[in-house]
């Protein structure tokens, strides 16, 4: 009996140490993953104190490159300082029906395309780099993200939005961009 108790204690110690050693990695994995998706029916939804509104989804295709479409997504987020802090490292992505993930373009030369597609000709920068401090608390914060999506995969897209403090929870909006075609 004493022998069994010793083995059980050793096993318990081993398991506890394993969990403790792996815990930082597990926390990192949780903060980088979107495991719990909160479906938003329309264009408004809130998560962990921040109200997120999908203001615009404008797309464009061109005669020269008909296989791809540029899609501008404009979001408005409102939250108090504590909620805003949870939305640091804000992540916006598009998910296709086949599980593909499109991330916003990061190239500096996309500014002209953002301005051409945005409703007011402005570029409010992506959500990730949007500036947040005490002065911004409670005020609507606009962000613009530009995606390059294959033209034949535009149906059934979903927009996922999350912050470092909300993950693994993320908001998911249905996205049907209005697409304009530009001929030569």
């Amino acid at each position: 009996m004493r022998r069994f108790a010793r083995w059980a204690a050793a096993l318990f110690l081993f398991c506890t140490l394993t969990v403790l050693a792996a815990w930082p990695g597990f926390v990192d994995l949780r903060r980088s993953s979107e495991w719990e998706v909160v479906e938003a029916g329309g264009r408004d939804a809130s998560l962990k104190g921040v109200q997120v509104r999908l203001l615009a989804a404008e797309g464009a295709t061109t005669e020269q490159l008909p296989d791809r479409a540029a899609i501008l997504v404009r979001l408005e987020t409102v939250g108090d300082q504590e909620a805003n802090d949870r939305w640091v490292d804000c992540r916006v992505s598009l998910l296709g029906e086949g599980g593909e993930v499109w991330l916003p373009l990061t190239a500096g030369n996309s500014d002209a395309v953002v301005r051409a597609l945005s409703p007011d000709g402005e570029n409010n920068r992506p959500c990730r780099s949007a500036y947040r401090d005490n002065d911004e608390a409670g005020k609507p914060l606009l962000s613009d993200q530009l995606f390059l999506v294959a033209s034949d995969r535009m149906h059934g897209l979903r927009l996922h939005v999350s912050g470092l403090g909300t993950r693994p929870m993320a908001l998911s909006f249905p996205l049907e961009p209005r697409v304009r075609h530009y001929a030569e």
Partner: protein, 183 residues
């Protein structure tokens, strides 16, 4: 009898631990990517994208246009321009290219062709789109034949795929004294 046995277990344990410590692989070796090798002209399929080696050419000088300015670069070695195709992208990614020379040395892309049309640079590859970029390397001439192109996702590539593309041995390499890089 019990004491020598316990001592033996202790000595063997210490020896085993010492052997494990001495042969413990370093961080880079433990978390190195999984290599997927494709032979000439075949597609290598990774977790996030697939790639196929298309063509290669060498040059003593390269020229390209960058923001309306003509740029010309020469080298004490030789420029190798490797053309390949990126397809079946699962997630928007940047791709890094490395040339593994015949000696086994790894050569990063030259920074001197930065901004050239069609170069990898900070380019993102998108799901559903097939792209044909090129990578420019600056190498000693004897590192080209028998080398291979390694492609992986940019930045951190821990325990993910690395696509190794065998070069086209049957296809003679084209050499240019001066080559203009275009899209």
């Amino acid at each position: 009898m019990k004491r020598p046995a316990q001592l033996l277990v202790l000595v063997v344990g210490i020896a085993l631990l010492g052997a494990m410590m001495a042969t413990m692989p370093d961080y880079n070796r433990v978390f190195q990517p999984f290599r997927i090798t494709a032979s000439e002209g075949e597609i290598a399929g990774g977790r996030l994208f697939s790639a196929r080696f298309l063509d290669w050419e060498t040059a003593g000088k390269i020229t390209f246009e960058n923001y309306g300015r003509n740029v010309e670069r020469d080298t004490q070695g030789i420029f190798l321009i490797a053309h390949f195709e990126i397809s079946e992208v699962q997630r928007s990614i940047g791709v890094a290219a490395v040339w593994e020379g015949r000696s086994g040395r790894h050569y990063m892309e030259t920074g001197r062709a930065e901004g050239a049309p069609g170069a990898l640079d900070d380019r993102q590859f998108q799901p559903g789109l097939v792209s044909r970029p090129h990578a420019v390397f600056e190498l000693p001439p004897d590192e080209i034949a028998g080398g291979r192109l390694l492609l992986s996702q940019k930045w951190l590539n821990v325990m993910d795929s690395e696509l190794a593309q065998e070069t086209l041995l049957e296809k003679p390499i084209r050499h240019h004294d001066r080559l203009e890089l275009v899209q």
